[in-house]
Symmetry: C2
């Protein structure tokens, strides 16, 4: 395959397509939840999850889907900013606060600033690993915040492919 | 239907069958993850999730499945200890710490002591709601701890059925 394509046949310079291919083919449990990336460039990533198929006993969105949507953004930002032939990413901890019930499709957004991205590359190169914090905000179709998360991820030297 | 059966045709005095019926019929996204309750009596609940279908980019168990397994135990303990015709339960926040990779089927366990259960019944009766904390431990097939969670749930007066 061409050097600019991943093993899944997706151009590695398209972070949205690449992350959605990873979700579909590598983490099928996440794909089943309907979680998708819709934006990922530079230090900003946005994902979505549908209300359909994700209801709970209250008729609102299942807590596990909201968590999984936000947690995924660490992976999307990894793929958009780091060379997957040199690094991989893991999650160390996440706290989620459910603010109000979600009764619609939801979107989650998280950002990493440029200075942090540059520091992570240098630190992981030098030390083999580097931690980063990521805050995500999940909003409903009206733009109301339904949940917030704070996660700690670790960038590690070495490819997993 | 008989008074001792839920709307799903499951005996309400069998908390394991009742919770598994809720997972299957009311929260299908959780059911798709393979999450099941295997023990639930008094203040102790145990759930399981399979490695099959829950892999991630590292070949270990997907973070969202581990979270969802632990979070579910609050619901299982609710059904085992509170009258679902009088109360319902919601989750307010959960923190998960991933301790080591899970490479096998996993089990999660959580406990509520009798005094807390009694206090929750009285408080929710008197005030309409009452919060409780729940710690869960997730272990792999070798009994090694792969993740721990701390959650806050709210027992609320009023049925959702």
């Amino acid at each position: 395959m061409p050097a600019d394509e991943s093993a899944m046949g997706v151009a590695t310079d398209d972070p949205v397509a690449l992350m959605n291919a990873v979700i579909e083919h590598v983490v099928p449990a996440m794909h089943q939840l309907g979680i998708r990336v819709v934006e990922s460039h530079g230090g900003r990533a946005v994902g979505v999850a549908p209300m359909a198929g994700n209801g709970n006993h209250l008729g609102t969105m299942y807590a596990g889907t909201l968590f999984s949507l936000a947690e995924m953004l660490g992976g999307a930002l990894f793929l958009a900013n780091f060379d997957m032939s040199l690094f991989h990413v893991t999650v160390k901890d996440v706290q989620i606060r459910y603010r109000r019930p979600a009764r619609s499709d939801v979107r989650a957004e998280a950002m990493l600033d440029t200075a942090t991205i540059e520091w992570l590359r240098r630190e992981a190169d030098a030390c083999g690993k580097a931690d980063f914090s990521l805050d995500a905000v999940i909003t409903d179709a009206d733009g109301e915040v339904v949940a917030t998360t704070q996660g700690t991820y670790q960038l590690r030297a070495g490819s997993v492919t």
